[in-house]
């Protein structure tokens, strides 16, 4: 079976990188996919000009690299009760989807929203706000035929627990909306296999990284406590062949993990 195994641009932690060089570099290391973290200062979607978009698209097509995007998430909250923050956040994600369309990316990973005090005290109202924001975002994704994947989030300040995501998906009811499963976030929530079983039907993308229990690290497979052998078997049995995005904090860890993942999937 041919698996889609890529890296996140998190493997270049300085963020000060040239996207075209990144694509060439990951191709040279035998990856066939890359997830670009769209974050200021370098990769803010609205600041990536037409020319660069076209060059990224052409190079990825030429090297047969599947492109994915991770929408901005610092100071972004599509579930915010403050209108200005919410509208800005929705605009940033829509800009990411349009960038995705222009470079022919297939999936945009999005955080569902933050849950601070107003959300905790008025959870229902917050979810209604979130649904309104997401409806706009999903409409754009449908129009340009890009899949949106809400990421599993374990923090108490995030909306993104498995049951929350399943509820959102059932409410929005769009074929363009699914889930990004993150192995470390799943471990923070408990047993990664149980978490995966809950969401596997909607899984579009997997963030692969290892961590010690109770920590949020970006280690190579085998350096932490996640039982990858059984987890990857479960994914394989579910017919999932990628993308497996290696979200480590350096390229060496990603290269090491790629070998391991192929061994475990074989």
């Amino acid at each position: 079976m041919n698996y889609i195994i890529g890296v996140s641009t998190s493997v270049f932690p300085s963020l000060d990188i040239d996207l075209l060089e990144v694509i060439e570099k990951i191709f040279m290391h035998g990856f066939n996919s890359v997830e670009i973290i769209c974050s200021y200062p370098k990769f803010k979607p609205s600041q990536i000009d037409k020319n660069l978009r076209e060059r990224i698209r052409k190079l990825a097509a030429q090297l047969n690299i599947k492109l994915l995007l991770h929408a901005p998430f610092y100071s972004i909250n599509i579930a915010d009760h403050n209108r200005e923050i919410r509208e800005f956040s929705v605009r940033e994600i829509i800009d990411t989807i349009i960038l995705g369309h222009d470079i022919e990316a297939s999936i945009v990973t999005v955080h569902a929203g933050l849950c601070f005090l107003p959300c905790k005290l008025m959870y229902r109202e917050t979810m209604r706000i979130l649904m309104d924001s997401l409806s706009l975002i999903v409409e754009t994704a449908e129009n340009v035929d890009i899949k949106l994947a809400l990421e599993i989030r374990a923090s108490e300040f995030d909306i993104g627990k498995p049951l929350e995501l399943l509820y959102i998906i059932s409410e929005i009811n769009s074929k363009h909306l699914g889930i990004t499963f993150d192995t470390v976030q799943a471990q923070l929530l408990g047993d990664p296999i149980k978490v995966y079983s809950l969401v596997k039907k909607y899984c579009l993308n997997i963030h692969v990284r290892d961590s010690r229990k109770g920590m949020e690290e970006m280690l190579a497979i085998g350096e932490g406590d996640i039982g990858f052998s059984s987890l990857l078997t479960e994914m394989k049995n579910n017919g999932f062949n990628g993308p497996f995005i290696l979200e480590m904090n350096n390229l060496e860890r990603a290269i090491k993990s790629k070998k391991e993942i192929l061994k475990l999937l074989s």
């Binding site: 610092y74 009760h81 005090l117 008025m122």
Partner: protein, 257 residues
């Protein structure tokens, strides 16, 4: 010593109700927690004037607290920075209509992109703070920075306050006691508080009055820390919690001592 309350105590109710609660329970001051839908910045001027009149009739002072859950003065993304500045400018305008004496703000948050660019982050934070300070001064309002306990916060303890004071000599602070407690500082020299301009103290359940759930078992320890601080500095106290009974309990615990 004057004691006020945060309007957070009735987050799902109108500010008017908090004012009546404050007056009935002997508080001198209501610190409005600026967060939708509890308090909207987008209401018309008439509403704010009515609130001011009610506060005057009840003999209460008003101040504003901008929690800035997402707004980030330290962001190196100019769009995000602009939103934060605009938010604080709007709050200062409303504070002026309400005849408030002070606005409490959060200095900024340092996330991964900011950590990679510490110099730029510090510069943009200072320059935005100078701009907001001038705006506050023009409106006759005292701007106070509140300390927060989270790793990503720009102002967490007295050392951070002292550092920022080098660049903003006229800055004053709202000193949040449970936030300081949540840092679990060991061998911490509380006397340093003498070197910063503290305008008021904020008291509530740890780890934060702006957080649920809270840790009620540690409340007495937070009050003990407050008393250590008060031996050095006495200033106005603002009680903050989402629960009215807890506010009254803290008030009575403090009065007992």
């Amino acid at each position: 010593m004057r004691v006020g309350i945060s309007s957070l105590v009735a987050f799902k109710e109108d500010i008017e109700n908090v004012m009546f609660f404050a007056q009935n329970n002997g508080f001198s001051h209501v610190n409005i927690f600026v967060s939708e839908p509890h308090f909207s910045l987008f209401k018309d001027r008439t509403y704010f004037k009515q609130l001011r009149r009610l506060a005057q009739n009840l003999g209460l002072l008003i101040s504003l607290k901008a929690p800035a859950f997402t707004q980030n003065l330290s962001s190196i993304d100019n769009d995000i920075g602009r939103i934060a500045v605009k938010y604080y400018e709007r709050i200062i305008n409303i504070a002026s209509i309400l005849d408030s004496d002070k606005v409490i703000i959060r200095a900024g948050m340092v996330f991964y992109p900011e950590k990679l660019h510490p110099k730029e982050t510090f510069q943009v934070t200072i320059s935005r703070l100078i701009h907001i300070l001038e705006k506050a001064k023009d409106n006759g309002i005292k701007l106070l920075i509140e300390n927060y306990p989270y790793d990503f916060d720009m102002i967490r303890d007295i050392d951070d306050m002292l550092l920022i004071k080098k660049y903003l000599r006229k800055i004053a602070f709202a000193f949040n006691i449970p936030h300081l407690f949540a840092l679990k500082r060991k061998n911490f020299d509380i006397n340093k508080i003498n070197y910063v301009d503290v305008d008021c103290f904020i008291m509530g359940p740890p780890p934060s009055p702006y957080h649920v759930p809270y840790n009620i078992r540690e409340l007495e320890n937070v009050i003990a820390l407050y008393y250590d601080v008060v031996k050095i500095r006495r200033k106005e106290l603002i009680l903050a919690s989402v629960r009215k009974d807890l506010i009254l309990r803290i008030k009575s615990l403090i009065s007992e001592k």
